[in-house]
């Protein structure tokens, strides 16, 4: 989906944050809990990493941004748990208000309905016997598609032509895996794009390298 998460090339975000060499993994205690809860929520909800990424991408922009990285992890986890019927819609709001002292009735525990999903192996990489469709040096075009569901094809490369640099290990396709519609194992290609083919003739000169799944690409004659 074309959401707030797809940030490559957006403008007006201001200066980068100055690095702090002594930065710890978590700035605040709640971030630690949100991190661990989100990791465990994938198992509790019977889903997977791609579904988790999508659960964050489909947050409303304000929810995506307001509480930073681990804020969206927590809200993504809430989405997964609500979708699988582990918690009721509004359950976290109600419990929070109750803890704040409001007189609220919490929604009843729903009937779980986890997705019909079982991975064929751990992780996301899988062997694939089929020959890769493309080889290093091949010209390829990223498809100009706008799926309403999950995808890892950023908008800024869609419709642009690049060159295959190498073939990466095959992996489950996030677009179907996130929706429990099959692992759909595909070859993945490391593709180079010239910066001026992405951003126009005035752009800085550099190479943008990105890993794209087979079904995101089409051959260039």
């Amino acid at each position: 989906m074309d959401g707030i998460h797809d940030m490559g090339g957006m403008q007006d975000w201001g200066s980068v944050k100055p690095p702090d060499p002594d930065e710890r993994p978590f700035a605040e205690d709640w971030e630690k809990r949100a991190f661990a809860l989100a990791l465990l929520s994938m198992r509790v909800s019977g889903t997977n990493l791609d579904a988790f990424r999508h659960s964050m991408n489909r947050l409303e922009p304000l929810d995506y941004l307001a509480d930073g990285y681990y804020g969206r992890w927590l809200r993504g986890a809430e989405n997964l748990l609500t979708d699988s019927g582990i918690i009721a819609p509004g359950a976290v709001d109600a419990r929070t208000r109750k803890q704040l002292g409001d007189d609220v009735v919490e929604p009843p525990e729903p009937e779980p309905h986890r997705p019909d999903y079982k991975p064929t192996a751990g992780g996301s990489l899988r062997p694939l016997d089929a020959e890769p469709r493309f080889s290093p040096g091949d010209a390829v075009r990223a498809k100009d598609i706008h799926p309403s569901g999950h995808t890892r094809l950023p908008q800024y490369v869609r419709g642009r032509t690049g060159t295959v640099r190498r073939v990466q290990p095959a992996a489950v396709l996030p677009d179907t895996h996130a929706h429990f519609e099959g692992e759909n194992i595909q070859h993945v290609y490391s593709v180079d794009f010239a910066s001026r083919d992405l951003w126009g003739p005035e752009a800085e000169e550099f190479v943008l390298n990105i890993d794209l799944y087979d079904s995101y690409l089409e051959p260039v004659a």
Binding site: M7, M10, P21, W30, S41, A66, R152, Q168, D211, L212
Partner: protein
Amino acid sequence: MSISERLPISMRTEALESILVERSLVDPKVMDAYIKMYESDVGPLNGAKVVAKAWVDPEFRERLLADGTAAVAELGFKGPQTEHLEVRENTGQVHNVVVCTLCSCYPWAVLGLPPSWYKDPAYRSRIVREPRAVLHEFGLELGADVEIRVADSVSECRYMILPQRPAGTEDLSEEELAALVTRDAMVGIATVAGPS
């Protein structure tokens, strides 16, 4: 819901934890173990050891650049978010820098959890569009003849940079070299400074 009406995220987090724990769906001890792992055991020191070893051991360096996943596993580094690791070398001619524009994918097993600047929208949006300007903001000036290569790590392949070994470090031990290597250099927004 406007910002002013929002419930504090720390309270929401506590609320979700209490719901899941009271139904025994989540064990707080398991949560503690996950947190401890990334607070104490897995961090950029892992990557620094990899870089220092590559600087002193040419055969390891070759294996690292050919198959990063296998080479870092020799040092015991593997795990979530590092199923496939590719290590790219920065030289006087080529400067690599890594981002994930779609979330903040990062090679946890060698670098730990990502720092704030890496997760920030300004970095995610701009490094794929104006890397030289962004690197300048980080204080890194590259010669006009240096080729910049930006890796947007949106698949399950993860990237770590092998920075250049600074001059004047010929007499340092592997441990002393590892102490010089920074997280920022292993993502590609900085170079490694020599001993001060």
